[in-house]
């Protein structure tokens, strides 16, 4: 019996390891290629360990594109989107979950409609709004479509619904008004939900390519996602430099993920189970 369990375990691990290698291979190949010279990268058979480490690939792409600006732009976009969507969604979600008011179903319908419609249907008019406000090629342009979040409202509403009534009733008896209940009692209790929404917002904003591509065409206003995409246009065949650029673009998020992997994964998991 013990033998069977042991061999079963070995099989499970081998499958998972093969899968892990398949997941890691592109990243490993990215790092290896980023350190090769152009000639070495096109050699057949390919070398596994670069004969000479060409770290200058990193310096070359860094000089070619304003990656420093990209970092700043991406950070600002993420910070404002996270603050906006978490704060406004929490407020709305609390009202939808805990207060009875006329027109509640109607307003909640608006939230649901937004969630059911594919995002591309909003893009042309959103572009027109941003353009009319004279905000093309600004950080605001990157932030605007994500400043409120229907998904966030929906998600946090689920969290607020789960909190027992007693706490709220006690607070009302103590003479707290709705804002105090929301801010002092409910917000701290839904911390995990707020973190989950923050991570979710950050991930999807950072991965979004089409919107930044459309609104910010001047290179120093681009976030990492579209800035990196522009590298391919300039350098379609110099793969060592493309890979070095990719590494420069993705390492901060990878590092954040590895440090906070538990929060990331639990956050994403809760977005699934709560919806």
């Amino acid at each position: 019996m013990k033998e069977i369990i042991k061999s079963k375990r070995i099989i499970v691990h081998s499958i998972l390891i093969i899968g892990s290698l398949a997941m890691l291979l592109p990243f490993i190949w990215m790092i290896i290629t980023s350190l090769k010279t152009l000639t070495e990268s096109t050699q057949v058979p390919p070398t596994i360990i670069p004969r000479q480490f060409k770290f200058s690939n990193y310096k070359d792409v860094w000089d070619l594109l304003p990656f420093g600006r990209f970092y700043v732009n991406t950070s600002l976009m993420l910070i404002f989107r996270i603050l906006g969507s978490v704060f406004f969604s929490a407020m709305a979600a609390y009202a939808f979950a805990r207060i009875k008011f006329p027109g509640k179903d109607f307003f909640f319908m608006i939230v649901l409609i937004q969630m059911m419609i594919p995002g591309q249907l909003f893009i042309i008019p959103q572009y027109n709004i941003v353009s009319k406000l004279g905000l093309l090629n600004t950080i605001s342009a990157l932030v605007i479509p994500g400043i409120v979040s229907a998904f966030g409202t929906f998600l946090l509403r689920q969290f607020f619904i789960g909190i027992p009534n007693e706490l709220e009733e006690a607070a009302i008896l103590d003479g707290c008004n709705r804002w105090q209940i929301f801010w002092r009692i409910m917000m701290p209790l839904t911390k995990s939900g707020l973190i989950a929404l923050g991570i979710f917002t950050a991930l999807f904003a950072w991965k979004d390519l089409m919107w930044p591509l459309i609104v910010n065409v001047s290179i120093d206003k681009m976030p990492l996602s579209s800035g990196l995409a522009s590298l391919q246009g300039q350098y379609s065949t110099n793969f060592p430099q493309l890979m070095a650029g990719s590494m420069i673009a993705i390492w901060p998020m990878l590092l954040l993920f590895i440090i906070f992997q538990r929060q990331f994964i639990e956050g994403i998991a809760s977005t699934g189970s709560k919806s």
Partner: protein, 310 residues
């Protein structure tokens, strides 16, 4: 006297409740105001606008001219749109089942008592935190027909010169592989959370009854995880129908496989923002909306057959 006093009390109470209710209404409207106003300006009104735009043609001076159903009629005789519908559906029909089955398989393996669970989870989730442009570029490099790693490895077993991204018969599959690879981790994490909610005692009971692992999977795991599965299937499907990033990054404008790979959202992007024909672009995205709505309705009908809610 007593009755009078009681009614007095009752009206006082009613007044108090009314006042409290009114105050509550005020707070509620105040608290939903930013989100609701934001959604109306950024989503609801744009939705109406896009719908309107799909019946117009954008002339050179940014003026929109009402053309009735012209855009829709043009769409149904435009081979690139027809191809895009087919490509998008093909992408979805292949990537959703394959992706979800792989994710579920890995989630089930990770749900057992094994060492290194966190490490595996982290590794499978990595593509999810990477920029699509970076993912697309490295896969493009792996797929390179002259210097790519894949073709080198295949050459060792005697297959040579596969044109992963430029052969019209293969290119879409190559993009699908990247799509599946990059979403496995996300789906796996959500499915794993669903699996962890299944009480251990169910499996213990099955063990006592002598049910094998495959039997246990179909009798316990699958039915109990099916609501989570349904969520994953629906979200992956909607995501697949909106595929854009990898096609945009991996298939060049001059690529001969373009016609056989471009998706509806890619066409929408091209018409709306490259050729600046926003009317036609809107019509294309309206078509996408209709397709998504039809598929969602079918999904909701079908779910009764396989999703078990407790």
């Amino acid at each position: 006297m007593v009755i009078e006093r009681n009614t007095q009390k009752a009206t006082n109470k009613a007044k108090k409740i009314n006042k409290k209710n009114l105050r509550d209404y005020g707070w509620a409207y105040l608290m939903i105001a930013p989100t609701i106003l934001g959604l109306i300006v950024l989503n609801i009104w744009p939705l109406i606008q896009t719908c309107y735009l799909s019946f117009t043609r954008t002339s050179g001076f940014g003026k929109n001219q009402w053309v009735g159903l012209d855009n829709y009629i043009r769409m149904f005789s435009d081979s690139s749109v027809i191809h895009a519908v087919i490509n998008t559906l093909e992408y979805t029909v292949i990537s959703v089942p394959v992706g979800v089955i792989i994710s579920l398989f890995i989630a089930v393996l990770l749900n057992s008592k094994i060492k290194g669970k966190t490490i595996y989870r982290t590794i499978y989730f990595l593509p999810m935190v990477s920029a699509p442009a970076a993912i697309a570029m490295v896969w493009r490099w792996l797929y390179s027909s002259d210097y790519g790693l894949f073709n080198y490895l295949l050459s060792l077993v005697g297959i040579s010169g596969v044109k992963w991204l430029t052969d019209p018969n293969i290119a879409l599959i190559s993009v699908i592989i990247v799509g599946i690879w990059s979403t496995i981790g996300y789906n796996m994490v959500i499915l794993l959370a669903g699996l962890q909610e299944i009480p251990k005692s169910f499996y213990e009971a099955a063990d006592i009854d002598g049910a094998g692992p495959i039997r246990q999977f179909f009798a316990i795991t699958f039915p109990l995880v099916s609501p989570t599965m349904f969520f994953v299937v629906v979200t992956t499907m909607i995501g697949s129908l909106q595929v854009f990033d990898y096609i945009f990054m991996m298939i060049d404008k001059t690529n001969v496989a373009m016609e056989k790979t471009q998706s509806l959202v890619y066409l929408f992007y091209k018409y709306s923002f490259i050729t600046n024909d926003k009317g036609y672009g809107s019509a294309i995205v309206m078509l996408l909306l209709i397709i998504i709505l039809i598929i969602t309705v079918i999904q909701l009908k079908l779910q009764k057959k396989w999703v078990h809610y407790q």
